[in-house]
């Protein structure tokens, strides 16, 4: 089983939002919903300021509370190791939405839960996820962490990476490298 991860080089994100809309169009995400976002967080007082632009999406956690919470097994770990939803089995109970600490899920208009799939359909064809493909800053990097030759493996070996809400114990597969503030923003 591959271990697909996304590494986000925070320094290279310029907040252009190309990823946000590329994802919507690639996946036909319904109006009013997004599977990924760019969060802008500024600290300090004029003129001593710093700011982080942080892409957020489903972390495809290794210990995924959304899977555990699902009563119908609609939320499941797919063969490729990603966390997916079987919409035929989903009853829209929202248990996964409550269980996910990352606000990565939503209920789409047909009443079932939905979220980022890591562009599973593209990975199958050997392509990168749409958000990675279009990232103007090459800030989003995707690959199989178990492949030591992959960009993601090399980056995570070289730089200290952070994950969101580490205390939640979910072992996320989306890693953040912030060379300016390696300990976290």
């Amino acid at each position: 089983m591959p271990r697909y991860v996304m590494v986000i080089d925070v320094e290279k994100c310029i907040g252009c939002m190309a990823c946000v809309i590329a994802c919507k169009k690639e996946n036909g995400v319904a109006d009013g919903y997004f599977r990924t976002r760019v969060v802008e967080e500024a600290r300090g007082e004029f003129p001593y300021l710093r700011m982080e632009l942080r892409s957020e999406l489903c972390n495809h956690c290794e210990i995924a509370p959304c899977i555990d919470a699902c009563p119908t097994r609609a939320s499941h770990r797919a063969k490729d190791g990603t966390v997916q939803i079987d919409h035929k089995k989903c009853i829209g109970c929202k248990a996964c939405i409550l269980a996910c600490p990352y606000d990565a899920r939503y209920i789409r208009p047909d009443g079932t839960a939905d979220k980022c799939t890591f562009c599973q359909h593209r990975i199958k064809e050997g392509k990168k996820p749409a958000c990675v493909e279009t990232c103007l800053g090459k800030s989003r990097i995707f690959g199989d962490l178990d492949d030591p030759e992959s960009d993601v493996a090399k980056l995570l070996k070289r730089y200290e990476a952070a994950v969101r809400l580490e205390w939640a114990g979910t072992k996320p597969r989306v890693f953040y490298i912030n060379k300016k503030f390696p300990g976290g923003f």
């Binding site: 080089d9 310029i14 809309i21 004029f46 300021l49 632009l53």
Partner: protein, 732 residues
């Protein structure tokens, strides 16, 4: 190269056979006349969500565009698209699009129209235009234009016999920059700008918001440089997105940038940090420059700019140490104050002192261009008539270019001086939202016999039109072949990805049909645009079919990025050298070396109004786009946190901005932030449309341009300064 009309017709006729095959292939691509199927078809084309014009691969399923991706071969997209590029689908399927020709029935500005056929609409326009020509002369027609459609309508205007053309991209945007670079280096800095960002060690951005203006390849190269460890210096009253990427953020007092630039030049010269060999070999006027900048010490500049002298010196040294791989970005929208050309001249001079022009990591040289002169006017082979009256569009400014100064045309329309302007053609530009002093524009419109707009969306200015001609979107049409001037020259083709929706037509067709009715048939010697494109490809020595299939073809051996240091170089300036001291400016009565002038400051209780871009919108043109509107529905006015506290305003409160002339904005949310100086207010441009036909954009946010009732004019280039307005904040 120029060839006769007969040559062209010969080529056009010879290629008709190919035309039939081509047409069928397009039908196949579009899946026309076939049963729906799910198999996607990929068609290469060119984006027009902004003027960067990236290569696109459109994914079409069952005749519907489902995804747009960056063309991997095109040097401006490199396989990627910005948010606006991806949002092109939103424009195509926007239910508010202009769907058929309209003729006004109410008063101008009321937005009351009746549906018309193309014939009725053309006849209406042609009759009025012919009457204007007969009564006042052809010069009484003016054209305001932006985007690819300009190709056809400038041709039409010149064929009709008027020089009075105004492109917002000149005086309201990059005009001063282009003139300053021409004066200094003999060539403008190009579009895309010839900045060698990916090889830069130091990148200096003066009010230039990479990331917020999301020009595709520029963003890609900028982040590549960041990854390589480039030092970024951002000069901006606002902590912009790119300021957060910078090692040095210099929160400069607005309107004092020239002081900082002159002080940097002062330090670079005083400390001997300039490239002596380069300066000796390629430039003229160094001694006079050194003398002239003596007074502009860092200590002096500190008082003007509020940037500590130590920081001015430190940043100058970083540039000096890393020369020549330094980009001091010349900017794009440089229409700020009265001294725009001189400010950019200082950037050009600094660039030259660092030896960065024509050197790796600086500004690369224009590519060798074997293709000049291949355009519509060459193809028709008929010369344009000479005009009998002086050009109004160039104003009294000696270095203005033919793209013109829009406010000069508006002024002349209002005053009928030096002669009356009686008709306006407005194509591809939201004139109301792009031009300062809206009241003047609207008053001028009242004096006209004819207002025609060609556009895709019912923008604000459409409300004032007598006749509205709906252009199809860039995904539904052919356009003239684009010469892509990046490091190399390439050719890119925009081709229809789907058939035009509704009763909309391509710009080339609208211009041609109108031309025929104006008796200008000889200027449009082709039935279909494919005939023209095929003939043009033949002359260019490439295959039209190959271009259609690939979307982009690079012309080999055209790259010439750097000075090789050995051969004799002649710059296209009068001296053949880089002119640090400009005789051209001196002879025209302007300072040959930039001099600092102070600008008016906001009165008590007022803030300087600054404006800019957001990455998900292009001017006002995308604010109604369903896909992009969803990403950002309205703008917010940035106000410094301490100022907001004093005024008792909280983040997200709605306020009204009132300018120095009492003009009130639409209500707008405020963004309370530390990311801006206390002496200014910043508003992203293009929002607050007052066209009710734009159901999403209507009255969402504030319109910065409405508050820009005043403007300064740069006497050198005619560039219009728009950062000279002041606003106070009132509760909504």
């Amino acid at each position: 190269m120029v060839w006769s009309r007969r040559d062209f017709l010969k080529i056009a006729v010879a290629s008709t056979g190919v035309g039939i095959i081509g047409g069928t292939q397009v039908d196949k691509l579009l899946g026309l006349g076939r049963k729906p199927e799910d198999k996607p078809v990929y068609v290469p084309t060119v984006c027009e969500m902004c003027f960067w014009r990236c290569g696109v691969i459109a994914k079409v399923v069952n005749g519907k565009v489902v995804k747009l991706d960056g063309h991997p071969e095109h040097p401006q997209s490199r396989g990627k698209l910005c948010a606006r590029g991806h949002g092109g689908i939103g424009l195509l399927y926007d239910p508010d699009r202009l769907k058929h020709p309209l003729i006004r029935v109410g008063e101008r500005g009321e937005g009351k129209f009746k549906k018309a056929s193309w014939d009725e609409a053309f006849n209406y326009v042609a009759e009025k235009m012919l009457k204007i020509k007969e009564t006042y002369g052809p010069e009484a027609m003016a054209l305001f234009t932006h985007g690819t459609i300009s190709t056809y309508f400038v041709h039409l205007l010149w064929a009709y016999g008027s020089p009075n053309l105004g492109m917002p991209s000149y005086a309201l945007c990059r005009g001063a920059r282009d003139i300053a670079f021409k004066l200094t280096f003999g060539s403008p800095v190009g579009n895309p700008e010839r900045v060698d960002l990916k090889n830069s060690k130091v990148i200096v951005l003066i009010g230039f918001h990479i990331g917020e203006n999301a020009h595709n390849s520029m963003c890609q190269e900028f982040t590549e440089a960041l990854g390589n460890g480039a030092t970024v210096i951002v000069v901006d009253p606002r902590f912009s997105t790119v300021a957060s990427k910078a090692k040095y953020w210099l929160p400069i007092k607005p309107a004092t940038d020239l002081a900082l630039l002159l002080a940097w030049i002062n330090v670079i010269i005083n400390e001997g940090l300039y490239d002596k060999e380069y300066v000796a070999k390629y430039t003229v006027g160094f001694e006079k420059l050194a003398e002239a900048v003596k007074e502009y010490t860092p200590q002096w500049a500190e008082k003007e700019t509020e940037i500590p002298a130590g920081l001015i010196i430190e940043t100058a040294r970083i540039m000096g140490k890393n020369k020549p791989s330094v980009v001091i970005h010349p900017g794009r929208h440089t229409a700020w104050y009265e001294d725009n050309t001189q400010r950019i001249r200082a950037i050009a001079i600094l660039t030259a002192l660092l030896g960065a022009y024509g050197r790796p990591g600086g500004i690369y040289l224009p590519p060798k261009n074997p293709l000049t002169g291949y355009d519509l006017s060459d193809f028709c082979g008929v010369p344009y008539p000479e005009h009998q009256k002086p050009e109004i569009n160039k104003g009294p400014y000696p270095f203005t270019e033919e793209e013109g100064v829009i406010p000069e045309i508006i002024k002349a329309t209002l005053t009928e001086n030096p002669y009356p302007i009686k008709g306006w053609l407005i194509t591809g530009t939201n004139l109301i939202k792009s031009t300062p002093n809206q009241r003047d524009t609207i008053e001028a419109i009242k004096k006209l016999d004819l207002v025609v707009t060609v556009d895709m969306m019912p923008f604000d200015h459409v409300l004032y039109a007598d006749v509205v001609l709906p252009e199809c979107t860039y995904l539904e049409r052919y356009d003239d072949i684009f010469e892509v001037k990046e490091r190399s020259i390439g050719l890119a083709l925009r081709q229809p990805v789907v058939n035009p929706m509704y009763d909309t037509k391509p710009g080339w067709w609208i211009a041609k049909e109108l031309g025929i009715r104006l008796g200008l048939k000889d200027y449009f010697p082709y039935q279909d645009f494919e005939d023209y494109l095929k003939a043009k490809c033949q002359v260019l020595g490439i295959s039209f079919e190959e271009l259609k299939q690939k979307g982009y073809i690079e012309i080999p051996d055209t790259a010439n990025p750097y000075l090789d240091g050995t051969s004799e170089v002649k710059f296209k300036t009068p001296s053949g050298k880089i002119e640090l001291y400009s005789k051209q400016l001196e002879e025209a009565g302007f300072p040959p070396i930039p001099q600092y002038t102070k600008h008016e400051e906001p009165p008590q209780g007022y803030f300087r109004l600054l404006y800019g871009r957001v990455p998900v919108h292009t001017f006002s043109r995308t604010t109604n786009n369903p896909s992009l509107w969803e990403l950002m529905k309205e703008n917010a006015a940035w106000v410094n946190a301490k100022v907001a506290k004093k005024l008792g305003l909280k983040n997200g409160d709605y306020v009204v901005l009132v300018n120095q002339d009492g003009v009130k904005s639409n209500r707008v949310k405020i963004k309370v932030t530390e990311r801006i100086r206390p002496d200014c207010v910043y508003v992203p441009h293009g929002f607050g449309s007052f066209s009710p036909m734009l159901k999403r954009a209507y009255l969402n946010g504030a319109d910065d341009q409405q508050l820009i009732t005043r403007y300064a004019v740069d006497p050198v280039s005619g560039s219009v300064g728009m950062r000279v307005n002041f606003v106070k904040i009132e509760k909504a």
